[in-house]
């Protein structure tokens, strides 16, 4: 496995920022880290990036301990923090050259790599521009190129799309997809949850320092199936419909929607049970013209999980 986090805990006095986090990721996996502000995402990433020592536990990148072998770990990771600055008086290629040298690459190696990386992040035309004159999206892409200069096996990207306009976000997503195709193991946190769903092989949901769900998006959605939300639309007789559905033992939390011809309820039954329910409703002369399951995207998954239920 490429990333192995074992019982990672970080405390600041009495406050626990990270509580016994366990996580393993295989090589080439794109892992999306989801959580509210202050949930512990950046703390986890800071520990993995060897910027912060855990209070207890350890994490291993390709078998190297972030606590005991930080210098070895730094060779394996490319880190992009959520907030970062640039050196005002450096040009884009000099910026990459400096970091290349900082990772011990020779001048010849850097001269070959820099144009390739600028090409990768679509910044070839800005090679000789001062970094502080670039737009925010360009700076983000340049920082991503910087994190790739030593060809790391693992990329740790903390909110790489934050503050970007939609076009810049799409460009960033395309670059990340390309990196995924290159076989990099990518850990990425984002507030833009649907974007993660599209890109990630696995997601982890963290809340109050605890990893409360981990798996692929479909798996986590399955964990929520017991609480699937059904919406029923009727032509009229909404009160009759309401009484009918209230009698079903698999239904709970029934509510009338604003359009006054629709009902929503939580349903614990299977898909077959759902078919039976519709048949019974029609036989009972309930004028149902639509019955559908409310789609849950990653945002809903996150909201449902962080409500307080310990699903995992």
């Amino acid at each position: 496995m490429m990333v192995d986090i074992q019982g990672l805990t970080k405390k600041y006095g009495s406050f626990t920022a990270l509580d016994n986090l366990n996580l393993t990721l295989d090589e080439g996996v794109v892992f999306g880290f989801v959580g509210a502000n202050g949930a512990g995402k950046s703390t986890t990433f800071s520990i993995l990036a060897t910027l912060l020592s855990p209070t207890s536990g350890d994490a291993f990148i390709n078998g190297k301990s972030v606590v005991k072998e930080p210098k070895e770990v730094r060779k394996l990771i490319g880190y992009m923090p959520d907030f970062f600055g640039v050196y005002d008086q450096l040009k884009a290629d000099e910026y990459l050259d400096f970091y290349g040298a900082s990772y011990g690459l020779s001048h010849a190696e850097r001269q070959v790599l820099i144009p390739q990386l600028l090409e990768l992040v679509n910044l070839s035309h800005k090679r000789y521009e001062y970094v502080d004159l670039l737009s925010r999206g360009m700076k983000q892409r340049l920082c991503l190129a910087r994190s790739l200069i030593h060809d790391p096996k693992v990329l740790i990207l903390d909110e790489p799309a934050s503050g970007l306009d939609p076009r810049a976000r799409v460009e960033m997503r395309d670059i990340l997809k390309h990196l995924k195709s290159m076989g990099k193991t990518i850990l990425i946190s984002s507030h833009i949850l649907p974007e993660l769903a599209e890109m990630c092989d696995e997601i982890g949901v963290i809340d109050n320092g605890k990893l409360i769900a981990h798996g692929n998006v479909a798996t986590i959605q399955q964990q929520l199936q017991g609480d699937k939300r059904i919406i029923v639309k009727v032509i009229d007789q909404i009160e009759k419909a309401r009484r009918f559905f209230e009698e079903d033992p698999l239904i709970s939390s029934i509510e009338l929607l604003e359009d006054s011809n629709s009902l929503a309820f939580n349903y614990r039954g299977s898909t077959e049970d759902q078919v039976q329910l519709l048949r019974k409703a029609l036989l009972a002369d309930i004028p149902v013209y639509a019955l559908r399951e409310e789609e849950k995207d990653l945002e809903d998954v996150f909201m449902a999980i962080t409500k307080g239920a310990d699903i995992v």
């Binding site: 912060l52 930080p70 210098k71 730094r74 640039v86 005002d88 000099e94």
Partner: protein, 286 residues
Amino acid sequence: MMERFSNPVLMKELKLRFRAFKSFSGLMFYLAVLCIFVAGFLLIYTQFSGTGFFKPSDSFMMFSILSVLQMGLVMFITPGLTAGAISTEREKQTLNILLTTTQSSTQIIIGKLLSSVVFLILMLVAGLPLYSLVFLFGGVSPSQFITIFLFYLVTLIAIGSIGIMFSTITKKTIVSMIATYGAMIFLAGITAFFFFIGVSMEQMSAQPGNMQNVTPFSPITYFWVSINPGALIITTLYPEMASALESVVGISLPIWIVYLIFYILITAICLFIATRKLRANMKTNR
């Protein structure tokens, strides 16, 4: 081969420093002060007519005052160059990225220090044409000149190290700046004050009958004067003053040796602390 010894932080800092306008304005200010002093001195001694004599002893006097002035300028400028070395990176949010590279803490700290030292050496070298006037009129030996420059180097490295240390252990550049200037004022001013207080107290506590004699003063008073950069310059230029001080205190340890030991120790301690504290959030400092 050269690449093995190159320091990326040093190269980057030099590039940034020499592209910044404030570096050139600082250099201009420094040379302007020296020019005004030298021109003023020459004009006063030649009575504003250009026809007066300028003796070698006058030239030595000019060299002495110029040396103290230059030491003052070096001490004034060094904190400004070093006290923001790390804290500015922290404030600009570039430090975290730098710390995730494979450069060691020592490499980063040394790179930061050397870039400031190199710039200060450039300042000293830029001032050499003004010093050449001293040689034009004679009165100063090259060895004295070299000795003074070596002491400048030791002093600026030590104050630079203090600046780097405060810059590493404090979060804000302004705090680091105040602390470094405070340390500089202590070394340049408070030590002199302590020396005079010590001498006065020992004079007062001396027997009234022995007032005619030279009152010996304690090693601690000697220590205060030994670590004062101004006192070092004066005793280097006027060795008889150093001998007098040594004979009074009864310690045959020259002031310049105490000075060197103290400032080398300060440099070592400050750089050690800075290196240890750079990755303060990591238990291991690698």
